[in-house]
């Protein structure tokens, strides 16, 4: 299962965990699994997050593949000027 890391402000919504293991073959499946396990995270994900998979930030890419040993970080929603 992929390791999904949460920024500290999200940990209170996930039983205080910094890292959770979630099954899924795509970013979308992992995020859906995360919300299913911790429904309190849904508002944060709806507000918008960026996702880094194995060091690569994959915005708007629910189809991006995730491997069983992938390291995933939730990041703040990105943009620019």
């Amino acid at each position: 299962m992929a390791e999904l890391h949460l920024w500290s402000g999200l940990r209170a919504l996930a039983d205080g965990k910094e890292m959770v293991e979630i099954e899924g073959e795509t970013v979308g499946q992992v995020l859906d699994g995360l919300v299913a396990a911790y429904p309190g995270l849904e508002p944060a994900l709806k507000r918008g997050v960026s996702v880094a998979v194995d060091g690569q930030i994959v915005p708007n890419s629910r189809n991006h593949p995730v491997k069983p040993d992938s390291e995933i970080f939730l990041l703040q929603k990105l943009a620019g000027g």
């Binding site: 920024w7 690569q56 890419s61 703040q76 620019g80 000027g81």
Partner: protein
């Protein structure tokens, strides 16, 4: 470094031809937002609140509507109700509802047959206000008893007990701060403030909207992103997105400030109310400064620990930002990037997004990063001074590199921070002798860059020239960069490529030219679309030769047989293939669309020398060096232009630019005479060094370069002023009066 499949030898990439739009722009032929006119056009004007916070009791347009030439007046009542989230924020900002939330907030608009009549009619609209208490300072807005801008504006993230003006809260970090600070030989903690700074684009917002009673129409507009214009304008008006076709004009600067709407939905609503006549709207500079987005102002506390030999052991930052009367101050990004240049095990960030009675902030070049850099890079400078360490060597000791776990979580891929530091140290500016009252400052910065939704097409013309269609407006020379990348892909001269910025009816959705993404993302799409064309042209040649398409290669603008069984045929040029395409299968074009995820951040290091007049406190920039990683510079002159532009804007933010509010909450300096941006005579030629550590996520190694350059100047200049005066000033701007007060030992 793994660069499999990445091209490394170039014919056109790295050259510096003139930009294809250059002649139009120097001869006045280029059409900017205010240059668009059509027959029967009306002119719009906006009634703006003179109060920072006021209930709108009554709007009486009777006198205005009775004036000859006045065709329509709109208020919030002309817009749909029931919008939510950011759509409501945008609508409320474009046209006030129950309350005016800042000085300059639109409360009504009028369309008339001339600009003069429109302005007179706007003055004739009578608005009755009930003035409310206001607050414009971020720290004041968080205090108990501060006026509440809007109840219920906070989202789920805000802890209980905070003022209702705190609307978002961020908390991120890792490690054990106590352990990290215990390992330090020196700990320094400082508090900093930065003022709001405007993007300062030369061209004010301008548009021409036309919409009929069927809610269908067109919008011509000066913008960084016309799909954003379409989505936001139609959301504000409550109509379907594709009802409006948006065509971008040329753009005289944006820097993030033209990624959202202000007057555009008003022009469409006025047009509809005026029977479908087109309505042109052009902002004055006063309106630009009062009512469009500057960036956020900030109040920050940063604490860092360091060992005697210069290793950063721990870092903690608290960042409070106000972004006007709506959620959205870029403190979310600040809490990711504040310490991102460095390899720090124990790090923690806290962020507060606070609303005040100021205009809704908009993105500004690396939004959220320069303020944080001012705080963190100033503290690092203090640590180096106290410990007697060289500022570049110390940064080298702590610099993030490939494999470093970023302070925001994931590990970096190939990055070029170390290379920028080494190049800065080796540059002659770093060893130039300094005179009396002169000082040197060093600072580094980072921006993550962006991919974003991207759609581009490439078409082969009958004579073998090539048309590239992209959806990212050309602000800093991107037509030239696209043409160079297409020329490289096809192996044809740069001059044989024409680049068009297409309207919203011609391509799929494109995000704006923002996030330093245009050269990366539209460039990648251009290359991929060109490769599709090349594949088709190879097949046309193969069909003609009667061989397998796999036995044809593309080299130097020609299809050539390749391999032992391909046969002997003379190469077919792109012009020959194009000349026959009508009879060999029809037009040849390629298309590519993606939200590319292979973007990679750009690090930069700046070195500045200043001289401070001890009698007046005026700071003069003597020399300035920008070193930044471009991955691969497609057009080096325009990369240098981005470096220099970012530095110039950052110097302005550091030395002079600020929003000054009176006690009445009104902006005191809404003109360029009083809002002091640097002009050419204020600055020396800014020296540049382009570092090239290729980005594996782009076929040619491109990294975005537009934003990083504004991040280091704030601390670099402050560090130089500290070096020159012996005084650490933790508030920006470093205007002469503030610097002089510091020199005189007064509290600043």
């Amino acid at each position: 470094m793994a660069l499999d499949g990445q091209k490394t030898a170039y014919k056109y990439i790295g050259t510096t031809p003139n930009r294809p739009d250059g002649l139009d722009k120097v001869t006045g032929r280029a059409r900017y937002g205010a240059d668009i006119s059509v027959p029967g056009m009306l002119h719009g004007a906006v009634v703006r609140s003179p109060h920072a916070h006021a209930k709108i009791v009554k709007i009486d347009a009777t006198k205005a509507l009775a004036m000859e030439g006045v065709k329509a007046v709109i208020t919030r009542a002309d817009f749909p109700e029931g919008l939510e989230g950011e759509d409501w924020d945008i609508q409320e900002n474009c046209m006030a509802g129950e309350k005016a939330l800042y000085d300059g907030h639109a409360v009504a608009a009028v369309a008339a047959t001339s600009p003069l009549v429109a302005r007179d009619a706007a003055k004739a609209i009578e608005v009755t206000y009930e003035i409310l208490p206001h607050v414009t300072d971020v720290d004041e807005a968080m205090k108990e008893g501060a006026p509440v801008i809007r109840e219920g504006a906070a989202d789920f993230s805000v802890p209980e007990g905070l003022h209702p003006n705190v609307v978002r809260y961020f908390d991120s970090g890792r490690g054990d701060l106590d352990k990290g600070f215990a390992e330090a030989d020196l700990i320094i903690e400082r508090s900093f403030t930065t003022e709001a700074a405007h993007q300062g684009y030369i061209e004010p917002h301008a548009c021409l909207g036309q919409m009929g009673a069927d809610n269908r129409g067109e919008l011509w507009v000066c913008t960084q992103g016309h799909w954003f214009m379409r989505r936001m304008s139609t959301a504000v008006l409550g109509i379907e997105t594709t009802n409006i076709r948006v065509t971008p004009s040329e753009i005289g600067g944006g820097f993030g400030g033209k990624t959202t709407v202000f007057i555009e939905p008003l022009s469409l609503a006025l047009s509809r109310k005026a029977g479908g006549k087109p309505v042109k709207m052009v902002m004055s500079r006063n309106e630009v400064l009062r009512a469009t987005g500057p960036t956020a102002s900030a109040s920050m506390d940063v604490k860092m620990g360091m060992t005697k030999d210069g290793r950063i052991t721990a870092a903690h930052g608290t960042f409070r930002m106000q972004g006007g009367a709506f959620a959205g101050a870029p403190v979310d990004v600040t809490t990711m990037l504040a310490f991102a240049n460095y390899d720090i095990e124990h790090v923690h960030h806290i962020g507060y997004d606070v609303i005040t009675n100021r205009p809704r902030q908009a993105a500004y070049r690396a939004p959220g990063a320069p303020m944080a850099a001012f705080a963190t890079e100033s503290v690092i400078d203090e640590l180096c001074r106290e410990l007697g360490l060289d500022p570049i060597d110390t940064r080298l000791k702590n610099a993030a590199k490939e494999g470093t776990r970023a302070t925001f979580g994931p590990k970096y891929g190939p990055i070029g921070f170390m290379e920028t530091l080494e190049a800065a140290k080796a540059h002659p500016n770093y060893s130039e002798p300094l005179g009396p009252n002169q000082g040197r400052g060093v600072a580094s910065g980072y921006w993550m860059n962006w991919g974003g939704e991207t759609s581009a097409s490439v078409a082969i013309s009958e004579d073998g020239s090539v048309t590239v269609s992209v959806g990212t407006p050309d602000i800093g020379g991107s037509r030239a960069s696209m043409a160079l990348m297409a020329a490289e892909a096809f192996g044809i001269p740069y001059e044989n490529v024409r680049v068009n910025i297409s309207d919203t009816g011609a391509l799929g959705v494109n995000e704006p030219t923002h996030g330093s993404r245009a050269t990366y993302a539209s460039g990648l799409a251009t290359i991929r679309a060109a490769e599709e064309c090349i594949g088709k042209m190879c097949k046309r040649a193969a069909d003609k030769w009667g061989i397998d398409p796999e036995a044809v290669v593309w080299e130097d603008g020609c299809a050539k047989p390749s391999g032992p069984n391909a046969g002997e045929f003379p190469p077919m040029t792109i012009a020959e293939i194009a000349g026959e395409m009508g009879g060999t299968g029809g037009p040849i074009s390629g298309h590519y669309e993606d939200s590319p995820a292979g973007f990679s951040g750009s690090f930069g290091t700046h070195v500045v020398d200043v001289e401070v007049d001890p009698e007046t406190g005026r700071t003069t920039i003597l020399r300035y060096l920008v070193v930044q990683d471009a991955g691969k510079a497609i057009h080096p002159a325009y990369v240098e232009g981005q470096f220099q532009g970012g530095a110039a804007q950052g110097i302005g933010w550091a030395l002079n630019e600020e929003y000054i509010y009176g006690e009445d909450g009104r902006l005191q300096n809404p003109v360029f005479l009083d809002y002091r941006v640097p002009v050419a005579s204020d600055l020396p030629m800014i020296d540049t060094v382009i570092v090239e550590v290729p980005n594996p996520g782009h076929p040619y190694g491109v990294r975005g370069v537009g934003e990083t350059g504004i991040t280091p100047p704030l601390p670099a200049v402050a560090n130089a002023v500290r070096d020159a005066t012996g005084k650490r000033i933790c508030k920006l701007p470093l205007r002469p009066s503030r610097v002089l007060a510091a020199i005189q030992g007064k509290e600043v």
